[in-house]
Amino acid sequence: MTRKQRRLTMIGGALAVLAVAAALVLNALRDSIVFFSTPTMVAEKHVGPGTRFRLGGLVQPGSLVRGDDLAVRFQVADGGAKLPVAYKGLLPDLFREGQGVVAEGALDGSGVFRADTVLAKHDETYMPKDVADALKKQGHWKDDYGAKAGADAKPSGGAVASQGAAPSAEGATR
């Protein structure tokens, strides 16, 4: 093989690998990304049953009902709308009524959000960023949340010295 042919082989191989990688990435981006919505956005956009998304909002005070065998039901509200959520499993340490929450799952036929993951941060001043942003946008932001979120941004941003500490910032139960 001449030098030129060798080089062409190399470049051809490299392009082939890159093409495969690009195909994998595009395919994965189509199938495995999850969008974030609040109850109001769900109502407006008419999200169909079975579409996976992340639901964020505040746990409606008084809505938490514990069933048998770790089953729980609660409502997520964002000031504009409410959405019932059903979940089975261990709730995060800081899951509380009136606090922010992010759940991942899909709507079932009867309009109940079936969550398979409930996320919460290990911090008493926690307000999930997606929830805070959405509440601000819709004008339901209260100043004391702001104080909390402001206090939160600093320690969590600073405390995560490393990747080991990172997942701690967003503990989840599955």
């Binding site: 191989g13 974030f36 008493e124 995560v160």
Partner: protein, 660 residues
Amino acid sequence: MIAESGHYALVLALALALIQSTVPLVGARLRDPALMNVARSAAVGQLLFVLMSFAALVMLHIISDFSVANVFENSHSLKPLIYKITGVWGNHEGSMLLWVSILALFGGLVALFGQNLPLSLRAHVLSVQAWIASAFYLFILITSNPFTRIANPPIEGRDLNPVLQDIGLAVHPPMLYLGYVGFSISFSFAVAALIEGRIDPAWARWVRPWTLLAWTFLTLGIAMGSYWAYYELGWGGWWFWDPVENASLMPWLAGTALLHSALVMEKRNALKVWTILLSILTFSLSLLGTFLVRSGVLTSVHAFATDPTRGVFILVILCLFIGGSLTLFAGRASALKQGGIFAPISREGALVLNNLLLTTACATVFIGTLYPLALEVLTGAKISVGAPFFNLTFAPLFVPLLIAVPFGPMLAWKRGDLLGAAQRLLAAAGAGLAAIALVWAWTRGGAVLAPLAIGLAVFVIGGAVTDLVERIGLFSVPLATAARRARGLPRSVWGSAFAHAGLGIALIGIVCETTWNTEHIGTMKAGDSVNVAGYELKLEGLTPRPGPNYRELAASFSVSLDGEPLSVMTPSKRTFTTRGMSTTEAALLRRGVSQLYISLGDTTPDDAIVVRIYHKPMVLLIWFGPVLMAFGGLLSLSDRRLRVGAPRPAKALRAMQAAE
């Protein structure tokens, strides 16, 4: 006083760094050895001042001086001493100070052990190193000064985030930073070579040990962090594809590629331009990681927008260094002479394939990490890219890489014999197939991919063993001769065999843990027992216990197997009074390389407690693999040929200077 001296020492270090970043360059232009030698003393002086500054901050934390904002925000007088010390780098300001300390350490090491480097190369390397250092000293002094005082000192501190009050914090960040920042050396060498406009094999001989050292620490740092997350977070996961984790994985992937391409450059004088580019990219990814973690952009794009000083400062540093070095590369790379040629099927070819797959895998991680950020900035849409994305992209790219790993060392330089290599790997392939059959039969169908992946892992390990066996002629020559040959074998050969085997071992652990992990979640009362993976766990009782700066509720489980009592496990739940946060202290019981894992949830009103019990088969192999890889790295580093700072034989030194 201590705070002010620490601050002052940091300013002096900045002054020295500014001198170090200019004077040696002028010296190199004027060919003035005295000016070039300024780099050495400046680098050592810088190291001393930074260490003084760091020691000052440690001291402030130890004596709990709450008049310093950093101590007030992250410490508490009741905190155990070890966490007072480790808390120094458990926050933004302190961890940046650790970052520059390690940078200065590496600069100091080059200055001290680089006597036999060509003078102008050393001057250039240390100058580039000082540019990086100056930028980060400025960043600390302007935006994140750890020595800021509070006007009205409070009596008590706000305590360190309880999740960080763990021995993991003592080990993980320093290790990780030694890796991250260690890559600055290969970056500085690359930029120095571009400025000088020439590269010789001696350059690669210098870059490789430094890269290897950084890579070894980064490997250990990532593995340590993963194990820490596993036992501290209480839900048994060990890798979350979290952006902060990806930030450390990307330099690791690029660094691994660099390690291999530097080999080609050293041995065959080929792939020069690519190696330079990879050196630049690896450190750029380290800088990107620093930006992602330190700017707050991950916590919230909005937090970044409202308090942009830190983020924008690091972004500017990032753009200056990455943009500058890549521009320099674009301008100078064509001037570098092409090296030796080789056939596609050869050791070089295999290493090129390794580089191709590693950098592509790195690129997919890059896209998965930054795409959500870019999308949010551009369109405002919020998405999350999680494990499914990486499983669909990263894993398929790693499979061909793993298949190719055993072939690499079997191929000859320049032109290899693929068929011959395949024949020599028959035994390893046989072992792999046997493993597939065994696992398949043992699990009676079930998961299809798991036995295949285990077969692949056994093939990788078998390949590493075959390589060693062939080199020492284990079964073809008398045992004594083989033993003598084994001792005579270069340590770098042992090193690469261990590292490759470590890859296979980690894969076995990953596959077994993800496929055959048993989980039990439920509520238990004292006296209840539950059966998990054949183990009988009985909750004996719950006892509240006081701690130094927390209260905890400990549960005591007696574990028995087939009626035989084994041990008692006591997971607990700690509540930290100062921050009102609680953490879960999981209890681990090791059985061989498998583990039983218990963590506690909330107590219910009727005195029961929610528990999570996992049986994780082979889970320890996940971290044993990387430890073996790092051991391989150290072994290779101790090779006489490569030892960092080892005095070079006089002949080689003369040859090297002649080459200049």
